[in-house]
């Protein structure tokens, strides 16, 4: 353990023919992404409070919660709820109210507070969030803007560091990853909020990182083996970086894993999406990014023995 490593991911000389499975890989990815896009439109994402607006109040009652009493008190205060639910223990109550342009969310949240303490004396408000409709629209716009601009900047960066075929395949792969993550969000009903945008951006950054490492090796091999056919060269590059790709993915996966189990309500959704994204990002580095490069660059990248322009530092 302190000297030689005890375990290894792959044998010292793997030669898996990944390119042979390129059409299967691309087709599977395309189908999954298409399904995700359909899921996105129907039934659609479960928007979190940040983007939907409205009110969420979490209370802890003194002894087991009496939901009937709480509902009655809320009705007495003229409050129309979207749901009064139990979560966690028997003394945990979650109350949701939708956003409405006309009502003043910030006054309503105080009404909810009063209603709960009237119905269940001794109850404490653990958390009370109220987001007005105008703010939620703006947060949503900013979230999408952050995603969009990040994608563009990643495209620009890879374009600057590599040839355009690389940049394009990377961004197409990222978009495929992104859509699948959205599909995962729809299926799991995790609430899509700012924290999820953060998760998706992290996945984007991480997934790009993965692609950059593979592409870096491809570029290096393009210079090293001037006559090797592109298909063979891509296979070689993936095999050479395979151990590293799996190693890094595993460490990030291990880091995100405890968050999924111990992170509490606010972080476990984030962590599950991260875990999903890591798996998708890693497999797309192997099965999607390089095959796309083969499709796009078959003619151009291997046409001649042009001088290596963008020399490595």
């Amino acid at each position: 353990m302190f000297g030689r490593p005890l375990l290894r991911f792959v044998r010292k000389d793997t030669h898996i023919n990944f390119m042979r499975g390129r059409f299967v890989g691309l087709a599977t990815s395309a189908v999954l992404s298409l399904a995700s896009v359909i899921l996105f439109f129907h039934p659609g994402l479960t928007l979190g409070l940040d983007f939907r607006g409205g009110i969420v109040v979490e209370a802890k009652t003194n002894g087991p919660a009496d939901f009937g009493k709480i509902r009655t008190a809320l009705t007495a205060h003229n409050l129309k709820t979207d749901g009064v639910q139990a979560f966690g223990g028997p003394d945990d109550v979650l109350i949701r109210l939708g956003a409405n342009e006309q009502t003043n969310t910030n006054a309503v949240v105080d009404e909810v507070r009063h209603a709960i303490t009237e119905a269940q004396p001794g109850a404490t408000i653990v958390r009370a969030d109220a987001v007005g409709a105008s703010v939620s629209a703006e947060l949503f716009r900013n979230g999408l803007l952050a995603l969009g601009i990040s994608l563009l900047m990643i495209l620009g960066y890879i374009w600057f560091r590599f040839e355009w075929e690389f940049a394009l395949s990377a961004v197409v792969t990222l978009v495929l990853d992104l859509t699948k993550t959205v599909g995962f969000l729809v299926l799991t009903h995790f609430e899509f909020d700012l924290v999820m945008v953060a998760a998706i951006l992290t996945i984007l950054g991480y997934s790009t990182n993965d692609k950059v490492v593979v592409y870096d090796r491809i570029r290096e091999n393009l210079r090293r083996y001037r006559t090797m056919p592109l298909r063979e060269l891509l296979d070689l590059s993936i095999n050479e970086t395979l151990s590293r790709t799996l190693g890094t993915s595993t460490t990030v996966f291990l880091a995100a894993l405890p968050l999924a189990f111990f992170g509490g309500a606010s972080l476990s959704g984030f962590a599950w999406v991260m875990l999903f994204g890591i798996v998708v990002g890693t497999s797309s580095s192997i099965f999607i990014a390089a095959p796309l490069l083969l499709l796009l660059g078959e003619k151009r990248l291997r046409k001649d023995t042009r001088p290596a322009v963008k020399q490595e530092i």
Binding site: F2, R4, P5, L6, L7, K12, D13, T105, N106, V109, T124, I125, V126, R127, A128, D129, A130, S134, V135, G143, A146, I149, S150, M153, I154, Y157, L194, V195, V197, A198, L201, T202, G205, Y206, T208, N209, D210, V212, V213, D216, E240, T241, G247, T248, T251, V252, F253, L254, A255, A256, L257, P258, L259, F262, G263, G264, S266, L267, A271, I313
Partner: protein
Amino acid sequence: MMYYSRIKLLSVAAVCLLGALLCVPNFVRKPAASIPWPEIHLGLDLRGGSYLLLQVDLSSLTHDRLQSLSDSLRQSLISANLGYRNIAINPDKAEITFQPRDPSEKDRDLKVLEDLPRTVSNEFSVTTRPDDTIAITLDSGAMRVRTHDAVSQAIEIVRRRIDATGAVDPQITRQGEDRIVVELPGISDPERVKALLGTTAKMTFRLVDELPPGTLIAPPGDTLLPLSDHPDSTLAVHNHVDVDGVNLTNAGATTDDQTGGWAVSFSLDSVGTRAFGDVTQANVGRRFAIVLDNKIIEAPVIRTAITGGSGIITGNFDAHQATDLALLLRAGALPVPLTVVEERSIGPSLGADSIRAGALSLLVGFVLVIIFMALFYGRFGWYANVALFANLVLMLAILSLFGATLTLPGMAGMLLTLGMAVDANILIIERIREELKRGRTPLAAMQAGFERATATVLDSNATAFLAHVMLFVFGTGPVRGFALTITIGIATTLFSTLLLSRMLMVRWYALTRPSTLPV
């Protein structure tokens, strides 16, 4: 590449030591007030408290200005003996339009407009339309200046009001053009603060116009205002303000000697005292309305001239209302109305739970990664683990140094940074393995590994960096904490892997000169 000068070795060690030193204040109680003690601040989601986002009502600012402009326009035209028709305020276009009584008076009208008082130069422009309508349009640049001033002033008033409630450590900051963020650590039920901030507290003293009962339309120069006790009944008061709340110098909650109920006492400055004396002297027997935010608190009959410059307001207050009204009057009126558009309150128990959840995840994640690195990468994996620990220490050090705020997503960001930080080491070790496979000597393999991996490490971190800078720019609240820790984490990762762990590997090689590498 394989040699490190003494200075380089020492400076890397010094940075690590300094980092460890900077972390100390987070775990030790501050010994004396005078010593600088840079600490990481816990975000509201970890320590409990309230976050309020206030929206400044800018349209009311435009509307108020148009209203006062049209009032002075009317007066100026009347005193110049000019007539007008169809005077109208159009807040959407920020303009006032009117038509001259007679087209021949147009030039004299325009002359009057030139002499209207302006709060800033070029505040408005005057245009004549083909149908002889004269339009006065507020300049958008001038309005922006006014807006900026109004928001700054509002922040000041908000600060005074919150300080008066005795809140500990409140943070009040401007956000964008027309928003104010108020953070109140430790206050998880901000109802009172919201009520205080949602009140403009513009107080005026105006004479009541006694109308025959049942009058529903106010005569020109008057406004019908509701009574704060009985919102259904109204009184007509003069638009002319006799004494303005601006002239208040002090206010306090007190009890009324006659009724024994709660009241608010106030005193006026010299301008207010004179005005108050003059009005009360000239209008004995009439009713004098005390108006707060367009509601009449009370309208007592003036019995004698009040020249002392102080008095009491006896609405139907309870102790709380009297205290809060006095507080509002002392702090001054808001120049613009504020509304709370976002509230996030976290109770102290949830905050403590979150700290536990974050710390536990961080610990378990850290241990998992360390075990993995030891199993799969052996000796070099342990060097990576040392660098990983240094990375964590340095992240905490930088966060403390800037007095940054740590949020729950921020803790998640730290953990993910640790997961990704070993990537650079994995790249290097894997590369060394490959080079050995190609038949290079241990020395040459290590050299090649470091060289080749550096560019890759920089490339891959650059993209992650870009994504998180965007998140920091567009995100709010706890999510910004996440972006911040990851961005800092990328910087510390570059240091700990490209310098520290590499140096450990090189020193080990230099000391032992092994014939094979443990990879």
